[in-house]
């Protein structure tokens, strides 16, 4: 029954988008974090989505799962701040490589995708309820 599968599929999509929102929140929260070496600096994290077919014989049952959360490999910015508590021996601190504009765009995209999933969920719920009340 495809209409019941929709709850699984849209549920997995909403879960995946929530992970994406969570990484965005972490990235924005750590946008101003400083560190005393490039290795310790915070790197922006992003989830990797993958289609997952729950049943080999029902092609509409294609949900989403987060396979991995990868760190952005862009070099962190090195800034001269001798007064900073995290400054290294030469007086430099390493800022996180979070791009705030990228993160905000990501957030809008995730919330729109989440909204369309909720929309589909509501529509199929409505259809199921009407099917259940058939003939009454």
């Amino acid at each position: 029954m495809s209409l019941l599968n929709i709850f699984d599929v849209t549920g997995s999509a909403m879960a995946a988008q929530t992970v994406r929102m969570n990484t965005t929140a972490s990235n924005l929260a750590n946008a101003e974090t400083t560190a005393s070496s490039a290795a310790e600096a915070y790197r922006a994290r992003n989830p990797v989505f993958e289609t997952v077919f729950r049943s080999a014989f029902d092609e509409s049952n294609a949900g989403v799962r987060v396979t991995d959360i990868v760190a952005n490999q862009a070099e962190p910015q090195r800034v001269y701040k001798p007064g900073d508590a995290m400054a290294d021996a030469d007086g430099y601190v390493y800022l996180s490589n979070v791009n705030v504009v990228d993160e905000l765009v990501n957030m809008i995209s995730a919330s729109r995708s989440y909204q369309s999933s909720v929309e589909v969920l509501n529509t199929s719920k409505e259809l199921l309820m009407r099917t259940l009340s058939l003939g009454q």
Partner: protein, 130 residues
Amino acid sequence: MALDINSVFDTHAKSLTLGSQRIGLLAANIANADTPNYKARDIDFKAAMQSAGSRPVQMQATRPGHISVGGSGSAPVLYRIPDQPAEDGNTVDAQQESAAVAEAALRYQASLSFLNMRIRGLQLAITGSR
């Protein structure tokens, strides 16, 4: 006049089966709107309804080990021709899919209304004026 109960519900029951299959596929498309390399899929509703009327050759599970493919009455799944595929290989157009869901839901509700009317008509015929 003999009443064939199958013919009363047949067309709209098929329409409901295909409709739910279609909405399932569209939901999967919307769910995978951000998944790299996902290709949007859909069924040809018109062709599926026509072939449902003509009853093509179907495979049957006659032994316990046999696997039913796609279930009864499901249409072949086709890939959508993208207007503008994304750089990451994804061919889902969220607006197009939302519009398709709205249309499929409307068709589904229309079939439900017709079925309800049929049932009400039959009930009236069975119970008389009550």
